[in-house]
């Protein structure tokens, strides 16, 4: 598989897109289960799988290699040193596409500083304190001595998506219950057959 081969690119540019490939497989499975239109419960499960794989896709995109959950660690709170993410753009120099984006990031960070703490030390070297890093297994969560947090936004979005998912599931199941109460089946094709028969009868009468 091509996608898997992409893994061999440099560590800094991530681990390829292989897990998107896997997400895609899950999505396809889910979509097939929904559309195959067999048993209604299975369709709902398929819908769930489909939605969860989209959630997985979002979460994947939010991940940063060697990163940690987006909950600020003690050493990153302002009373230690607040500005860690600043020279992110240094890393991106080998990545032509991103140049503009980093600049934007830099500019807006600078703006942000003025608003917030006024003269916070934006030039302080973002070195993590040794004792903290030890505690938080540096090999996993730090890049160039700074804590790498995964992006919180996809997580937030997906919290919403999960809620939407369970709401949809509940509704779908409620409808299934109503359908079952009359047709006494939850197989789509049997329901269709009953419907055809009923409609023929109605047309005759």
């Amino acid at each position: 598989m091509n996608i898997l081969l992409a893994t061999s690119t440099t560590a800094m540019s991530g681990e390829g897109v292989y897990n998107y490939g896997l997400v895609i497989f899950l999505m396809m499975t889910g979509l097939y289960l929904v559309l195959a239109k067999g048993n209604m419960i299975k369709s709902v499960i398929g819908l769930n799988i489909f939605q969860v794989s989209v959630i997985m896709f979002y979460v994947s995109m939010g991940r940063v290699e060697h990163g940690t959950a987006p909950i600020l660690l003690e050493q990153d709170l302002p009373h230690h040193d607040s500005e860690h993410g600043h020279d992110n753009h240094d890393d991106s120099e080998d990545h032509g596409l991103l140049q503009t984006r980093s600049d934007v990031a830099l500019a807006s960070t600078a703006d942000g500083n003025h608003d917030a703490d006024g003269g916070t030390d934006s030039d302080v070297h973002p070195q993590a304190h040794p004792e903290d890093t030890e505690a938080n297994s540096p090999s996993l969560h730090t890049v160039d001595g700074r804590t790498a947090y995964s992006n919180p936004l996809p997580h937030v979005l997906m919290l919403t998506a999960i809620v939407v998912g369970v709401a949809t599931t509940a509704l779908a199941l409620a409808l299934v219950v109503r359908i079952r109460e009359y047709y006494e089946t939850i197989e789509e094709d049997i329901v269709d057959a009953i419907e055809n028969r009923l409609q023929k009868e109605e047309a005759q009468s």
Binding site: L31, V34, M40, S43, L47, F50, Q51, V54, F57, Y58, M61, T100, R101, S108, L153, P154, L157, T160, A161, V164, A167, T168, L171, A172, L175, V176, R178, I179, E181, Y182, Y183, V191, I194, E195, L198
Partner: protein, 499 residues
């Protein structure tokens, strides 16, 4: 002290959002009805106010939480949003008062307040989609409106009869969720490539990324997702059953609001997000959906002619009318797009009025089968006349709103240099003559069933019906307010992509 008018954009959405839980809290059908109606009128007031402000002094930005646009969610109201908001709230302002008698007959009393809560939630969702300037926020409100729609539709089940409304709702839920998830996926792709969810920022950043496969795929997913919600051929299959089996109020409400908002989403995607970025692909796509729209028009009209259930006739007619709207979009010129946009409004008035008239018939006959409605023109002259007026609009008779849309679509076809398209559009409106006259002939040319005594529908139903139907005539003559907005919106989409 507080400048409320400054908060209008968010009030537009938040007021119904607050009213819905209050309705649940009160658990009283009359209070529920009153609150819902009052909300609808407040929405109408807000949207008209917004429309005037936007027309006079340009787009309004409202930062919720007062965060910058890349941090928080920003409401961006421009002429297109305001226009759609006006359509949605105007229709609700007519449908909600109408619902009082109509729905009491159709669903048990202890569910009424929940019904109104769901109705107001649906309104909230639709308004939210139309007002927001944040891509993900669209998805959230899309789901609010969708979920409430599923429940509202399922309320059309008749006790002891097959739960066809539930079945239709279930199938719509499956399709709608796939559509919604596609949109979510598309938004995800866009976010992945740009790092932002703000539509204005997206439209600034996307042009530079237009040749990436991810952005193109995002375009595809959002278009397909919006098309499912819009019920564009060939993903229209859910619509006829939904409109047929839903309670009459719900059919009237959905047919004139939900598809309009989906159309707006499609427009935003095609013009604002991808307009400049993917001009070429967008053009190709427009070429692709053009034929689909045509097929929708003819297939919908043809199926409408075949039906014997008035609601189904109207439902298939909706498929066709959606085709007109999309056809206008696919022409990609000012007249065509204006035609598509103004048809949103006109169709909302006409189809809303028609479904309400049918609701009046149902109120007395307990059926919408043509065979049961013989001679309804004599037993319910006012209702039937309202139907005729609305039907004339659907056909596109001059001096009704429908004519305005057709006129622009025909001009759009000329402008796009496809004169035969103009002819096809007009031939299709003849098919509308056929299905409308099918109803008219049954209503007037067949002897009423003498064994049931039937009188006119109550005034509380007739007045809103006539208000909508007459509005469709009024706006066929004094077109300026809405046509001006539609034209401005079309110009905006075509020039700057809209942000």
């Amino acid at each position: 002290m507080i400048e409320w008018s400054q908060h209008l954009p968010v009030l537009q959405v938040v007021v119904p959002l607050i009213v819905a839980p209050i309705i649940v809290l009160f658990r009283n059908k009359n209070i529920a009805w009153f609150l819902a109606t009052a909300t609808a009128f407040f929405s109408l007031y807000t949207s008209i106010e917004l429309l005037t402000i936007v027309q006079e002094s340009g787009p309004i930005d409202y930062a919720i939480g007062n965060w910058e646009r890349h941090v928080g969610i920003v409401y961006h109201i421009d002429i297109a949003n305001a226009y759609i908001l006006t359509i949605v709230s105007a229709v609700s302002a007519f449908v909600f008062p109408y619902s009082y008698h109509s729905i009491q007959q159709e669903i048990p009393e202890y569910k009424l307040h929940h019904f109104y809560a769901a109705l107001v939630l649906c309104l909230t969702g639709l308004l939210g989609i139309a007002a927001t300037g944040d891509a993900f926020n669209v998805f959230v409100f899309l789901e609010i409106s969708s979920l409430s729609t599923y429940a509202l539709v399922a309320m059309g089940d008749k006790p002891g009869k097959p739960p066809r409304a539930s079945l239709a709702a279930y199938r719509y839920l499956i399709m709608g969720t796939i559509g919604g998830t596609f949109i979510l996926l598309g938004i995800g792709f866009l976010y992945m490539m740009t790092g932002t969810l703000n539509m204005a920022e997206l439209s600034e950043k996307l042009p530079a990324l237009s040749d990436t496969s991810t952005v193109r795929a995002a375009f595809a997913f959002i278009t397909v997702g919006a098309s499912i919600k819009l019920a564009l051929f060939p993903v229209h299959t859910w619509l006829p059953n939904i409109y047929t089996h839903a309670p009459n109020v719900v059919s009237a409400f959905l047919s004139s609001t939900a598809t309009k908002v989906s159309y707006y989403v499609l427009l935003r995607a095609m013009y604002t997000l991808f307009g400049a970025a993917l001009a070429a692909q967008a053009l190709q796509l427009k070429l692709l959906i053009g034929p689909m729209a045509l097929v929708a028009i003819f297939l919908g009209s043809f199926n409408a002619i075949k039906q014997t259930n008035i609601k189904k006739i109207l439902a298939f007619s909706s498929v066709a009318q959606i085709g007109y709207m999309v056809l206008g979009l696919s022409m990609n010129n000012l007249d065509g797009l204006t035609g598509g946009l103004i048809h949103l409004f006109n169709h909302a008035l006409m189809k809303g009025g028609l479904f309400m008239a049918v609701g009046c018939m149902f109120y007395r006959y307990q059926s919408v089968e043509l065979s049961d409605l013989k001679g309804v023109g004599r037993t319910m002259p006012f209702t039937t006349f309202a139907f005729v007026l609305g039907g004339l609009g659907l056909i596109g008779v001059p001096l009704t709103a429908g004519f305005i849309s057709k006129w622009y679509l025909v001009l759009g076809a000329f402008e796009a240099d496809v004169w035969w398209l103009a002819i096809l559009i007009l031939i299709a409106s003849l098919m509308a003559v056929m299905y409308i006259f099918k109803v008219i002939e049954t209503a007037y040319f067949q002897e009423p069933n003498t064994d049931i005594e039937v009188s006119e529908a109550p005034l509380s139903m007739l007045v809103p019906t006539y208000a909508l139907v007459l509005a469709s005539v009024y706006f066929g003559i004094f077109t300026e307010p809405m046509l001006g907005a539609a034209r401005e919106a079309a110009e905006m989409f075509l020039s700057a992509g809209g942000m």
